[in-house]
């Protein structure tokens, strides 16, 4: 029996984490993500988990990575400025292949910006923010139900691919209240265990090594330095570095068909909206108000790795319109993959596009 509740997006995110078996939360208060920490602070001790409010976001993500290596599912939640502070250790998590979940309830930036308003300005930061080449997984919920579902999914993807997974929500879904169906149990994909005789950073066929948690007797050396399959630092060997970085990227990019999660509407349309997160709600409203088979809609739930094959579903597309709560960050990525024009419809300040605004854009570019 599942239960139906009326709750806030941030609470749904915390509930999703708890359902997925998250037992460690390290965080630092920041608007508009704080409700996640508050909910975890109440719920985790009752379930034998650990909640800790660290001294800053650098420490939060560090504690989360440390906890993840003891074998528990661990997460943190933050917003723009805190997300920027986490960047170095996100790179560390990528390099050491630490599964963890980072929730970013995005707000208006740059800098302190608009703490209580929504934005989608960190979409490229979550992919390229840390130094060096790497690949990550980012999900974008558009409703409170998806705050629950995609948080669960983020834990599963993080554990499956041994990578930090991002839930790139924003203030709108974070603070919105909606009806949520919470199932009794959710699907849990466990981490693949390290087999005896296997090296701790040997990717094998799919590039994903087995996980040996601390205390299991494998004496794993985990380092952010370039390392070989044994985990030993090997910083001067060009080939070792090349092999490692290519594997870290390859294990995600080659699995993007499996990771992809998107919705397609009117695949024969000539004008196509590409959205992720709350702007998709405006497009849904528009299509509801004026049903038109000539208007297509691609809604991404997984934004990174970018599912470029989803764009080719729209074989007749003449133009792609991208309403985003930023200056057109993902529009660049879409333009990389298609020959047709990609028109960004930016909106800044914290409000969603109105259906009228999208209709205006539609008339201008159709």
């Amino acid at each position: 029996m599942s239960r139906v509740e009326f709750m806030q997006g941030n609470t749904a995110c915390a509930e999703g984490a708890l359902a997925a078996g998250c037992r460690f939360f390290g965080g630092y208060p920041i608007t508009p993500s704080t409700e996640i920490a508050e909910h975890m602070a109440r719920a985790l001790p009752k379930r034998g988990g650990v909640f800790i409010s660290m001294e800053d976001e650098l420490g939060s993500i560090a504690a989360v990575i440390g906890a993840a290596w003891t074998g528990v599912r661990a997460m943190t939640a933050t917003s723009g400025p805190g997300f920027s502070l986490m960047m170095e250790n996100i790179g560390f998590a990528v390099m050491t292949e630490t599964p963890c979940v980072i929730v970013n309830i995005q707000r208006g930036g740059p800098s302190t910006g608009q703490p209580t308003r929504a934005a989608q300005g960190d979409m490229l930061q979550c992919r390229f923010g840390s130094h060096g080449d790497y690949s990550t997984i980012a999900l974008s919920p558009a409703s409170v139900q998806e705050m629950f579902d995609l948080t669960v999914k983020a834990f599963n993807l993080a554990d499956r691919y041994r990578v930090p997974a991002f839930v790139m929500a924003d203030e709108i879904v974070g603070h919105m209240r909606e009806r949520v169906t919470i199932p009794d149990a959710v699907e849990i994909v466990p981490r693949r265990k390290l087999e005896p005789g296997q090296l701790p950073f040997d990717g094998g066929e799919d590039g994903i090594p087995g996980f040996a948690q601390f205390g299991s007797g494998y004496a794993v050396h985990v380092t952010g330095l370039t390392h070989d399959e044994r985990g030993y630092p090997d910083t001067m060997d060009a080939e070792a570095h090349d092999r490692l970085v290519r594997r870290l990227i390859g294990k995600i990019e080659s699995a993007r068909f499996d990771i992809a999660d998107y919705e397609v509407e009117n695949p024969d349309a000539e004008t196509v909206f590409v959205t992720y997160g709350p702007p998709s709600r405006t497009v849904l409203q528009l299509l509801h108000d004026m049903p038109d088979e000539g208007i297509g809609h691609l809604r991404l739930r997984v934004v990174w790795p970018f599912p470029e094959f989803a764009l080719s579903v729209f074989a007749n597309a003449k133009v792609f319109l991208m309403p985003e709560l930023n200056m057109g960050q993902m529009a660049r990525e879409v333009q990389r993959h298609v020959d047709q024009p990609v028109i960004p419809i930016p909106k800044l300040g914290g409000d969603l596009h109105t259906p009228a605004e999208l209709k205006q854009a539609l008339e201008a570019y159709r």
Partner: protein, 262 residues
């Protein structure tokens, strides 16, 4: 070797310069671990970035070599998520006092049950000898070519003020005392902080007329002032020389601790 089987023999010799004190501190830490009878699979060594922080890579246990300054935050996560693990943090003066200063005071405040061994060589060694927060006033380095004009941090006093349950300071010359201090720290629930003044002949000594290892050792030996002797000097109203540092067990107490194994 006291703890030969704790070393990753295939990784030796390590990257430290000839005469570096860090290897000695690893020896002493492992001797203390042996004394306590810890098991390898229950022990985790964690470090940040710097010369000192390469140490866990030479020890045959689970080890986490993290980002600059964050070792204590990582260690907090490890210890709280699994209190059954024995956690030892190797860190240096730049790692702990400069970039990681905030994590240091908060780890002491929380009193998370772990042992922090700080190899204080008074310099940023790995990057080639720049002045650090513990470079003594007047000392030369590549970034203090006219002598350091800043007061230095007293890390042990900082740990005491922030609330660590056990604080001691020795030098890499006082090996027997150091082993005892680290073992006592490991036995004490809560955060134990052992500061080890180590010699860095390559980068600190070179700029400060202590180029030879024996000169640096002599410097450490003559500048170490036993805490009991210092108290006696204070009682007698005599002045304690500024350039000397106190050694010995500086505090042992029983504040509430986090992450203690049940």
């Amino acid at each position: 070797m006291t703890a030969e089987e704790w070393y990753r023999a295939d990784r030796l010799p390590h990257i430290y310069c000839a005469g570096c004190g860090n290897g000695t501190v690893i020896n002493c830490t492992l001797a203390a671990v042996e004394e306590l009878g810890w098991r390898r699979e229950e022990t985790v060594f964690i470090s940040g970035i710097g010369c000192s922080s390469r140490a866990p890579g030479y020890i045959l246990t689970d080890s986490l070599h993290t980002t600059h300054g964050r070792a204590l935050a990582f260690a907090t996560g490890v210890k709280l998520a699994n209190p059954g693990l024995n956690v030892v943090v190797f860190t240096g003066d730049g790692d702990l006092a400069a970039i990681g200063g905030n994590h240091f005071i908060h780890a002491c405040r929380r009193n998370v049950d772990m042992t922090v061994v700080c190899m204080n060589n008074m310099i940023y060694g790995m990057t080639g000898g720049q002045g650090s927060p513990t470079t003594p006033p007047g000392a030369f380095s590549t970034t203090t070519p006219y002598g350091s004009g800043e007061p230095a941090f007293d890390l042990a006093e900082l740990a005491i003020a922030a609330g660590a349950n056990y604080v001691a300071r020795w030098t890499s010359y006082h090996v027997k005392e150091l082993v005892k201090a680290i073992a006592a720290g490991m036995r004490t629930p809560g955060l134990s902080f052992v500061e080890v003044m180590t010699q860095c002949p390559t980068n600190y000594g070179r700029h400060n007329r202590l180029r030879r290892v024996s000169d640096m050792i002599e410097y450490l030996r003559t500048h170490a002032l036993l805490v009991q002797k210092k108290e006696r000097l204070v009682q007698e109203g005599k002045t304690v020389p500024d350039e000397m540092f106190t050694v010995g067990e500086l505090v042992r107490r029983n504040r509430p601790a986090m992450g203690v194994r049940r």
